[in-house]
Amino acid sequence: MNYSKKVKLHTFEWKGTLVYTPFASHDMVSLVGSVSGGRLGAQAFLHTQPKSHVAGDVLAEAHAAMLLEGTKKHSKKELQITLDAIGASLSFMASADRLVFHASVRPQHLNALLNIIREVLTEPTFAEKELSVLKKRMQSDLSLEAVDPKAQSRIHLSRILFPVGHASREDLSQESMKSVVACTRKTLQDYHKATIARSSLFVSIAGDISERESQKLIDTYFKKLPNPTALTIEYVSAPPVAHRKVRTHVREKTSVEYSLGSAIGIMDSHPDYAALMLGMQILGVPGFTGRLMSIVREQEGLTYGIYASVNSSARIEGAALIKASFAPQLFEKGRASTLHEIKRLVEKGVTATEVRKHIAMYESRSLVALSNSSACAGLAHRLISEGHIPQYFDDFLKKYRALTVKDVNKALKKYLNSSNLSESAAGALSK
């Protein structure tokens, strides 16, 4: 695959960027776009403000959710009617450092959709009434989260692995609830003014539309977005920390959700990253071919699913993570088996056959995954918004192909050190 030759990158005079991926979709256009902001952007903004009890995560999430709640020109109801009438899907969400929108629409309605995106980015009202309804929704979601074993397992592990201020550290559900109460219209308005900047805009388009038409439309609709001085986002480092273990009992649940991991202290541009990624793929790639699935599930029948991953990006130091679900009575056995397999992987290493097969699989998966317009738009946006150019994708594949057993084993020994592996279990555990 020669990805970089396929994808077209265009930077406008006003500094926004379009990335276009040709894909012969039938009657559908997919868009993914973003501006600088997200959880870290909100955190950076709050540092410039008098003390507030709202947290960056909640501010970023509330801001994204409020964009579709009404503009100076159109009420929430009118916006909703327009979107529904053209059958468009449009959602905003906060990622670690971006305010991201996902949209899809039939080509004949693309103009109308872009007009709405432009309008909500430039003229949202953040009406008190809608904010009050949103707060109720957020509190309800947090109430569900507080008794969701998967969420609790994940949240507690994030608090062990990542320091305060890191993009992946999550607040406790109870803390977030208090933060929701503290979120005000004024804070949202001020944050909006500070974060929507055309020079930080990336839009990725794929589907039933030409490159030329895409360029014309993005230029037309977004060149007049405001352009304040960019927020200075701080990327807190996340070096490995000593092992810790936390268990959270959740009433009347029937399984134990188990998360295990270690902060790695490197970004995806680090020379070791590809080798570690391959090692984690061998350990627990989604599907049945990872070691954990073939042993802990297929041979021992201890879990429905157990997977491993590593999640750094170009600016964020991530972690090596393993996640599984166990029946309460099999939890200790499943945990022991998981730890044993990790130890065996690190101490005895991977084999040449595993390295060869997993590299081939990764390459084919990358090709197969790009089989719809939404996936094409999503990948291109991810690369660009993380600070890469399309060539990065081809270069990374090249680097992956060149990895050796020695590279992988060295990376696993260095980053998957069992003394640094922390654990979080939540669900049907004895108190």
Binding site: D84, R106, D141, A146, T254, F288, G301, A327, M361, L367
Partner: protein, 424 residues
């Protein structure tokens, strides 16, 4: 006798073939990406299970990832890994009306996918040991599902809405039945339902018609049709005569209100009008009930579901609320909105919005060959693989009168209400 693949018809861009052993084959050429989606849909789901054997279809789906004659751990071609090592996306799912096994593979690997699906159709070798190791896996899947308050209430409500029809039992089965499964019973189930004349193979993607025909004959042509007639499921749910209600208490963090109306099967002529009615009521953020229930702050979330099913299905609404006392208000608003449409019909704007919503949802589902093939699999399960394509046309011609008329299905007599009270 030599197998033959007979072209039945080409419609909606799909060519339908029939193999001499009764296997229906659906094919669409789509070269938008160098991939092929392969999906085999068996016309057996949890609706075909008998009392005491609930969950069998789902457990069998798990066991069909164990060894088969030509794809096994001994020859290094285990079903779980064979296609995945080639980068394919592989999985299977079981639901009320069907079981499907599917792969998205690079175009060069389509032959391998077809070979594997053909082999496990009649050549699965699962045994007691396989079942024993898989039982804990299935139990874990069951227990994970029991963590969801929505699922708990939904199951309880379906068991109330359906008194005799198998839709009353969740696809994953009852715990006692799951635990008393035996390889022998599952083998009988396999031998009853897993035959070419009880399956439809869908192949969409970058493959020529000539290659498709050659490969289907090569791999599926030698499989014999079933020596017996495939048993039909004949249970008919009696008419509901009065409203029903269930309640439960659970530490969910929120309370939940569900309202479910028993309606018609997907292939019924009124299904299109009901689809439009469902969207006008609760599909999209500008729908009547989203505005009345969510935007007003009564509920934090409101969802609608109307699965296209083989037998008479349901139209359901789910509201997430902070105070269980609001359930009465939610239920009253739902019925009031239905009654209003029954009396006054819907506006042209509402109608147009719902039609566009359905057409776009359909276009989105078909974005890429994988989504397209899986969407067709649901239509196959509902009893007519052209269902989605027909529905699009039918929806476009629905009138306000049709929608008004469809409200007669949504009465207190056909209604079942479910309340989950947060005990935290």
């Amino acid at each position: 006798m030599k197998a033959s693949l007979k072209k039945v018809r080409s419609i909606y861009g799909v060519t339908e073939y029939m193999l001499s052993n009764g296997l229906r084959v659906l094919y669409k050429r789509d070269a938008s990406a160098p991939v092929v989606a392969v999906c085999i849909t068996y016309h057996v789901g949890s609706r075909n299970e008998t009392p005491g054997c609930t969950g069998s279809t789902h457990i069998l789906e798990h066991l069909l990832f164990k060894d088969s004659k030509k794809f096994n751990t001994k020859n290094g071609k285990s079903i779980t890994g064979y296609l995945e090592w080639m980068g394919a996306q592989v999985n299977a799912t079981t639901w009320l009306d069907r079981t499907n096994y599917f792969e998205l593979v690079a175009a060069a690997d389509v032959e391998k996918a077809l070979a594997l699906e053909a082999d496990r159709m009649r050549g699965s070798l699962f045994n007691d040991a396989d079942l024993a190791s898989e039982m804990t896996v299935v139990r874990n899947e069951y227990e994970q599902g029991r963590n969801s308050p929505y699922r708990l209430l939904h199951e309880m409500l379906l068991a109330e809405a359906y008194k005799v029809h198998p839709y009353r039992i969740p696809t994953i089965g009852n715990k006692e039945d799951i635990e008393s499964s035996t390889a022998k019973k599952l083998r009988e189930f396999y031998d009853t339902f897993y035959w070419p004349n009880n399956a439809t193979l869908t192949v969409f993607g970058d493959i020529s018609p000539r290659d498709l025909e050659r490969l289907v004959i090569k791999y599926f042509g030698s499989i014999k049709k079933s020596p017996h007639a495939i048993p039909a499921m004949t249970v008919v749910e009696p008419l509901q005569e009065k409203a029903r209600q269930v309640e439960m208490s659970y530490p969910a963090g929120v309370s939940i209100a569900m309202s479910m109306y028993r309606i018609v099967e997907a292939t019924h002529p009124d299904f299109a009008a009901l689809s439009v009615l469902a969207i006008i009521l609760a599909g999209g953020r500008s729908s009547v009930l989203q505005r009345a229930i969510v935007d007003s702050g009564i509920a934090s979330d409101f969802e609608v579901e109307m699965p296209p099913l083989h037998d008479a299905g349901w139209l359901g609404f789910t509201a997430t609320i902070d105070d269980v006392k609001k359930t009465t208000k939610v239920f009253a608003l739902i019925q009031k909105s239905i009654n209003y449409i029954a009396a006054h019909g819907v506006s042209k704007v509402e109608l147009k919005r719902a039609q566009e919503f359905i057409l776009t949802t359909s276009a989105k589902a078909r974005d890429g060959v994988f989504g397209d093939a899986l969407a067709v699999s649901e239509c196959i399960a509902a009893g007519d693989w052209t269902f989605d394509y027909k529905l699009e046309k039918m929806v476009a011609s629905i009138t306000s009168t049709d929608v008004k008329r469809a409200t007669h299905y949504l009465t207190k007599q056909t209604n079942s209400l479910g309340v989950l009270k947060n005990s935290l």
